[in-house]
Structures are given as C-alpha cells and as structure tokens.
C-alpha cells in the first residue's frame, strides 16, 4: 500500500515536471502513427524526420537571440561553487534547455467536433433549468481521455464539446499561463495592433500557452500571423525561434515561398533557400519545378534558379536577387584573390 502510494507520488512528480513535453509528444503520437517516409506514397507530414531536419536547419541557432534577457521577476543572483566536471554538466544542461526551447510545436489537423449522445432520458425534462457538467478528476489519465459529460435540462446525457472540455480541464487542472477565457488580444482588430508593433513572436508564444494545437483558434491566430509576416517580409522576426519551422511549413503548403526565398538570398543564406525548395519538392512532387530538378539533379543555387524559372510567382524579383548575390560573390572572390 505504502509502496503504491510512493510510486503514485513519483509518477505525479515526473508528470508535473515533464507535463508539457509529455502532452505534446502524446499529441503527436496520437495523431500520426509511425514516422513514414515520403516513399510511402502519402504526402510528407510535419513530424517526418526529414522534414523536421530541414526545418531545424533553416531555423538556425542564434544563441544571442535564444538567450536574450527575458522580462522576469527581479531576484538576487545565486552563486554556486562548482568543479570543472560540474560546470561541463551545467553547460550541457543549458544546451539541452536551449534545444527544448527551440523545439517546434506540433502542427496538427483541426480537431473534429464532438457530438456524442450517451443517453436520452426524456422523462427528466423540466426537473432542472441548468446543465450539470460532470468531470472525472482521476489524476493519472491524459486530458484527452478524460470523461467530461453534460446532463442537459431536457434529460440528454452527452459528451462535452471541445470548448467545454478545455474550460473544465483548465478549471480542475490549471496550467500556468493559460486563462479560462482567452484574452481579447486574440481578436482580429487587436491582432492587427500587435502586428504593427512587430510582436509576432510574443503573440505566438501566448497562443501556444493558451490554446491546444489542434483547436481552430490556434490555427486561426497562427495563419493570420504567418500571412502578416509574408505580406510585410518580416521573416527575420521569427528566425532562430521555435515558430520558424511552422511558418515555413505553412508557406510551403500554401505555395507562397517567394518572399521567403528573396529574403534568404538577400541575407546570403543560399543553402537555406535550397533546403526550402527541396522541402517544396517533397510536398509538391508533381509540379514542373520538381520534375526539372529531378531530371537535372540540381543542388544548391541551381535549385533556386530552376524554381525561379518554373513555378515562382515573383520570378522577376527572385532572379534579380540572385543576380545581385552572384555579383557580390564574384566581387568578393575577385577582391580576395587580388593581393
């Protein structure tokens, strides 16, 4: 009995410590089965290894941006006396924390609405004027599998909708930073103000905390943010954050990668541009650009040229940027070669 209680406490502690990651991993596991390679015949998913590799490479790792000072509670610094080995361990831990901070949040298909009726007891009609919401607060079950049922005033016993579920789970198992009703920032008019202030990263972090990844609100906010970034070309705001991969995935799926490519070429990130086009070919293998690239087995800058010629919408701009890049690179090599 005591052993059972101790193990339960351990499980509780482990759960508390790794709650978010556990839930994120469980969500991705539930939605996609195994890591299927694109040769499977299905179109590649966000969670495929290849796709994730490309996206992490493109995101980059700017330590200055990842560890920039965050507004937090003012408290006196703690000093610790460590040996060299302990210091190495501490730096490794810091690296792991940085990698976790840069871990991409999952991109899931939108959740289907729940409308499951468990019982219809018409003779209970008129007994009550209010609904009864019954939540199961058993500790060791994942929130997705929790029973939350509602007894309506007309006697029907039905499963709760997703919004009611989120509200109840937040009520009985509150998550830090998440509010019971979503803050008014997420309305369209207020989002515009946020975008004018260039605070896309903050709003995406808020959205991640507040909503579930497959809720329609989450997708709406993310799509609006990505559209705004694409419209104004503010790709650098999200570079080296955890949201960059998601943005690239959205743009590639929507075939809107021209602005991104121009931005990358202007910043001399040709390899990243080539990776983006490689991802594009993985997702749209029947396009003309993919076929030509496959025939010529192009790599690096040639991929970009092929894409600019065939499927690009802003072909002129892309080719101009490429020309400028090539001129600067030849100038540089000429300067370096000349004594």
């Amino acid at each position: 009995m005591a052993a059972f209680k101790i193990t339960r406490r351990l499980i509780r502690d482990v759960e508390l410590k790794s709650a978010v990651l556990f839930r994120c991993a469980r969500r991705t596991l539930c939605s996609e089965s195994a890591n299927n390679s694109p040769t499977d015949g299905r179109s590649p998913r966000f969670s495929d290894k290849e796709v994730q590799n490309i996206l992490t490479k493109i995101t980059g790792l700017d330590l200055q941006k990842a560890f920039r000072p965050v507004k937090q509670e003012l408290k006196p610094p703690t000093y610790r006396l460590m040996t060299d080995a302990q210091l190495a361990q501490a730096t490794q831990k810091a690296m792991q924390v940085a990698k976790e901070r840069l871990k991409m949040p999952p991109v899931l298909p939108e959740r289907k609405p729940i409308d499951d009726v468990l019982a219809e007891d018409k003779f209970l009609e008129g007994l009550e004027t209010v609904k009864y919401v019954f939540t199961d607060i058993t500790y060791n079950i994942p929130h997705r599998e929790r029973f939350i049922v509602i007894r309506e005033p007309d006697g029907t016993l039905r499963k709760a909708t997703w919004e009611e579920r989120d509200r109840m789970v937040q009520l009985y198992f509150p998550r830090e930073g998440r509010r019971l009703t979503p803050p008014p920032v997420f309305k369209e008019e207020n989002l515009k103000v946020v975008f004018l202030q260039d605070r896309h990263e903050d709003i995406l972090d808020l959205c991640l905390v507040q909503f579930e990844p497959d809720s329609p609100d989450y997708r709406r906010v993310h799509n609006l943010t990505y559209e705004d970034i694409d419209k104004h070309g503010k790709y650098d705001l999200l570079r080296s954050t955890r949201h960059f991969g998601g943005m690239v995935w959205y743009l590639v799926n929507g075939k809107k990668i021209d602005g991104l490519l121009i931005d990358m070429i202007q910043r001399d990130l040709i390899q990243d541009a080539a990776s983006v086009i490689h991802l594009y070919h993985m997702l749209h293998p029947r396009g003309s650009s993919a076929k030509e690239a496959g025939e010529q087995q192009a790599q690096g800058i040639d991929l970009v040229k092929i894409f600019a010629r065939t499927e690009s919408q802003k072909a002129g701009y892309v080719e101009l940027a490429l020309q400028a890049y090539q001129e600067t690179s030849t100038e540089c090599s000429a300067q370096s070669s000349s004594p």
């Binding site: 009995m1 005591a2 209680k5 468990l118 019982a119 007891d121 003779f123 209970l124 009609e125 008129g126 007994l127 004027t129 209010v130 609904k131 009864y132 919401v133 019954f134 939540t135 199961d136 607060i137 058993t138 500790y139 029973f147 049922v149 509602i150 007894r151 016993l157 109840m168 009520l171 009985y172």
Partner: protein
C-alpha cells in the same frame, strides 16, 4: 532494550477498521464509511465537497479523502459544476462505503450509477402537477371569458 534495535515503521493503513480508528484515538462502535456532501463556502454561497468520511464524524470535520466537489450555484454558462474522482469512488464503494441520497442522485445523473428512483419520481410528480395546472387553467380561462363577456353584454 531490545526494542531499540528495531526501526519504528509506521504503516498507514487506509481501509476502515478498528486499527485505524484507534490511531485516530476515537472508538466508533459499528460505524461505517460514507460518501457524502460536506458543506463549505460563505454566507449565501454554499459549496459542497464530495467526501469519504466516517459516519459518526461531524459533517464538515476531518474526512478520510476528498473525492470531488459540487457547486450548487450555476455559473456564467448556466452550468452546475460537479467533479468526481471515479477511480477513488470505485475504491471506496468496493470497501463498503455507503453513498448518501444527494450523492447517489448526482452519480445517477452523471451516468456512473443508474438513475436514482427519486429523480424519476420527482420528474413524474412535476409533470403531473404541471398537467393538473394546465387542466385547471383551461376551465378557469373558459369561465373567465364567460364572466368577462357577461359584464360587457350587461
């Protein structure tokens, strides 16, 4: 002296028995565990905790375990919120705990128990009284109309 060689092992036994009752320094004769509503909250604001407690204990005093909550006042969305820890409720019922009437009604409404007979009876009685009122209302209306038309014609 020989007792000092043995470390003191405290075994927390969590099933209703005379042993645990003696640990609480109370002697219950023939008491049993119940699952009932313990009242909390403030004036004009009740809030119930669904609790497993000894039968002889005061309503709001020390319980064995809290198994849930019930908020009798409806919230913004016109809902009365009930939380139930089904795993632990199953355990206590397996140990022989008796749920009280309101708890049994709540469990019936939630679908965990079959519907309590008094819930069904109350619903039937309500419908009967509503039907009787309607029946009374109809001949009354008829007589009212007749009495109204009489003074008009008169």
């Amino acid at each position: 002296m020989h007792l000092l060689h043995f470390p003191l092992v405290v075994i927390r036994v969590a099933f209703p028995s005379i042993l645990s009752a003696s640990l609480l320094l109370k002697h219950y004769h023939g008491g049993h565990v119940v699952i009932r509503l313990a009242l909390g909250g403030c004036t004009n604001r009740p809030f119930y905790r669904i609790v497993a407690a000894y039968n002889k204990r005061a309503r709001d005093s020390k319980h064995i375990e809290q198994l849930g909550s019930f908020d009798p006042l409806p919230n913004l969305y016109n809902e009365k919120l009930v939380s139930l820890n089904f795993q632990r409720i199953k355990y206590w019922i397996a140990c022989g705990a008796h749920p009280t009437k309101p708890v049994a009604k709540l469990l019936g409404l939630s679908g965990f128990f079959p519907l309590h007979p008094m819930t069904v009876t109350k619903a039937e009685r309500l419908r009967k009284t509503a039907a009787q009122k309607e029946a009374l209302g109809a001949p009354e209306e008829g007589s009212e109309e007749a009495s109204e038309s009489k003074p008009e014609t008169a």
